[in-house]
């Protein structure tokens, strides 16, 4: 009993240490940046500085122009993640089910995966319309193909003998999927969704750079056009914080699911 308590304490200590290191790194970087800008070693007009970013943040905050921009981007990103992940996983399930379809579609999927979706973003926005629909389409197009490919590879890598065990009970293909293939890959699917967070953000920002009238991408583009680098950097920072928070939420969700299924104690 004593032993487990001790190891818990040590673990906790190690975690706190880790966070301290991470915060030191972050604030060290910001401090260095601020100092270099302060002593004019780097040009604040081109490189901006943490204090300038903070000032413009307050200015936008007081003008009530932060949260509506964040909200629209977050909304588009979440839509992209949900549509792309669910669509991709569904498609991968169909591929797992039908070997013929997989063999027919394999070269097309590989080509689609290699295509520069970002270069096609303007066309997609023309197809789906400028606005949320176009932007979400760009996000989905960036993440769906890789979601299909990686999910399919997870599905088809399930241990052959486990399938044989189910077959020895006379399981149908559908039962193999619902009893084994899907539930055994919950952890992997969570990883896919985590990766999709970043991809969806890329799609949304590209879409917003092209057409939008609001959103973090819009702030970044607007800042670039009027050569206000503080605004660009503020957009990048907000982006980082949002992506980080989403990652944390999915990560916690995953842990809750794993705990509920009793895989870890």
């Amino acid at each position: 009993m004593n032993d487990t308590c001790n190891s818990y304490k040590i673990n906790r200590k190690r975690k706190i240490k880790l966070v301290i290191y991470q915060l030191t790194l972050l604030f060290g970087f910001l401090g260095l940046w601020e100092t270099l800008a302060h002593f004019k070693i780097i040009d604040e007009f081109v490189f901006s500085s943490p204090s300038a970013i903070y000032r413009i943040f307050i200015q936008y905050f007081n003008a009530n122009q932060i949260f509506n921009n964040i909200w629209i981007s977050v909304y588009e990103t979440i839509l992209g993640i949900i549509i792309g992940s669910i669509g991709g996983i569904l498609f991968a399930s169909i591929l797992w089910y039908s070997e013929i379809l997989t063999n027919i579609l394999r070269p097309f999927l590989n080509v689609l995966n290699a295509l520069p979706k970002t270069a096609l973003a303007p066309i997609m926005i023309i197809w789906a319309g400028a606005g949320v629909r176009g932007i979400v389409l760009v996000a989905v197009s960036i993440l769906i193909v890789i979601t299909i490919l990686s999910t399919y590879s997870y599905f088809s890598n399930v241990e052959e003998d486990k399938i044989k065990m189910l077959l020895s009970f006379g399981a149908t293909k559908k039962q193999i999927f619902t009893k084994l293939i899907f539930p055994s890959n919950i952890g992997n699917l969570a990883t896919v969704v985590k990766i999709n967070i970043g991809m969806s953000w890329i799609g949304v920002i590209i879409g917003e750079l092209l057409v939008s009238k609001a959103g973090i991408g819009y702030l970044i583009m607007y800042g670039g056009q009027i050569f206000k680098l503080d605004l660009v950097m503020m957009g990048v920072f907000i982006l980082g914080v949002c992506a980080f928070l989403m990652y944390v939420i999915v990560d916690k969700l995953e842990k809750v699911i794993i705990k509920k299924r009793g895989e870890k104690k």
């Binding site: 241990e159 044989k164 009893k179 919950i186 009793g262």
Partner: protein
């Protein structure tokens, strides 16, 4: 009553336009409640025989008749980590859409009898290797198979665990009076476990000999301690290595 019969069975496989003969004129039968061990050099076709029994393959010539359904137990327990022990055991019944009051009672009886009742709501991770193997056996027995096929069931365990698990599994099989075919490359395991040992030759596999094992002891570990055990071992060793 004969539960299983092989009648002059040949099995050929095709590889790169070449015909490969794997089984050559295999004939044997298994009586109800009997335990038959199949042993032989690796690659001889032991698994092919199991696949023929479970109808995953059809014989090239000859006839395989099986009287009743089959339960398969593998080298690994293949328990699903995300399901509780109880849910794991119900897997076969769920697949066969056969979760009846009667079958659930049978499962409860086995859980109690074989020392797993206290673990029914635990997850496989929390069980020892031996207990996991017992769970896997009960999962197979839950669908009430007429014949139990054990494919190298203890091969992945360390020696001491292997003896203990083999003892456990043997007791359960005898207690449930299950007709069993066990494939093992381990001669002493075959002698300790089975009523008869069938020795196969190198490929193409023929039956070299089927030996009745008569050791007057109740369980595998006890059998290993009786002198005649060594006699059987030497005999089978001789047959395996003879041309």
């Amino acid at each position: 009553m004969k539960v299983l019969e092989f009648d002059h069975v040949d099995m050929d496989f095709c590889s790169k336009n070449k015909q490969l003969k794997v089984l050559d004129d295999i004939s044997f039968s298994v009586e109800e409640g009997e335990i038959l061990a199949i042993t032989g050099p690796s690659g001889a076709g032991k698994s092919t025989i199991l696949n023929l029994i479970s109808h995953l393959l059809l014989p090239s010539r000859g006839n395989v008749s099986v009287n009743g359904n089959i339960g398969y137990m593998f080298q690994k327990d293949h328990l699903f980590e995300w399901k509780t022990i109880y849910k794991n055991i119900l897997l076969g019944l769920e697949i066969q859409n056969n979760v009846t009051e009667e079958n659930l009672q049978a499962v409860d009886r086995m859980l109690k009898l074989y020392g797993l009742a206290d673990f029914r709501d635990n997850h496989p991770k929390e069980l020892s290797g031996g207990m996991r193997q017992r769970v896997a056996l009960i999962r197979t027995l839950a669908v009430n198979p007429a014949i139990l096929l054990l494919d190298e069931p203890f091969a992945s365990l360390d020696y001491q665990t292997k003896l203990n698990v083999s003892e456990d599994i043997y007791k359960i099989i005898r207690n449930e009076n299950k007709t069993t075919i066990i494939v093992s490359h381990d001669i002493s395991e075959a002698i300790a476990f089975a009523d008869r040992v069938m020795i196969l030759s190198e490929r193409p596999a023929r039956i070299k000999e089927i030996i009745d094992i008569r050791i007057d002891a109740p369980t595998p570990i006890k059998k290993r301690q009786i002198k005649v055990f060594q006699v059987y071992f030497e005999h089978i060793w001789g047959v395996l290595n003879s041309e």
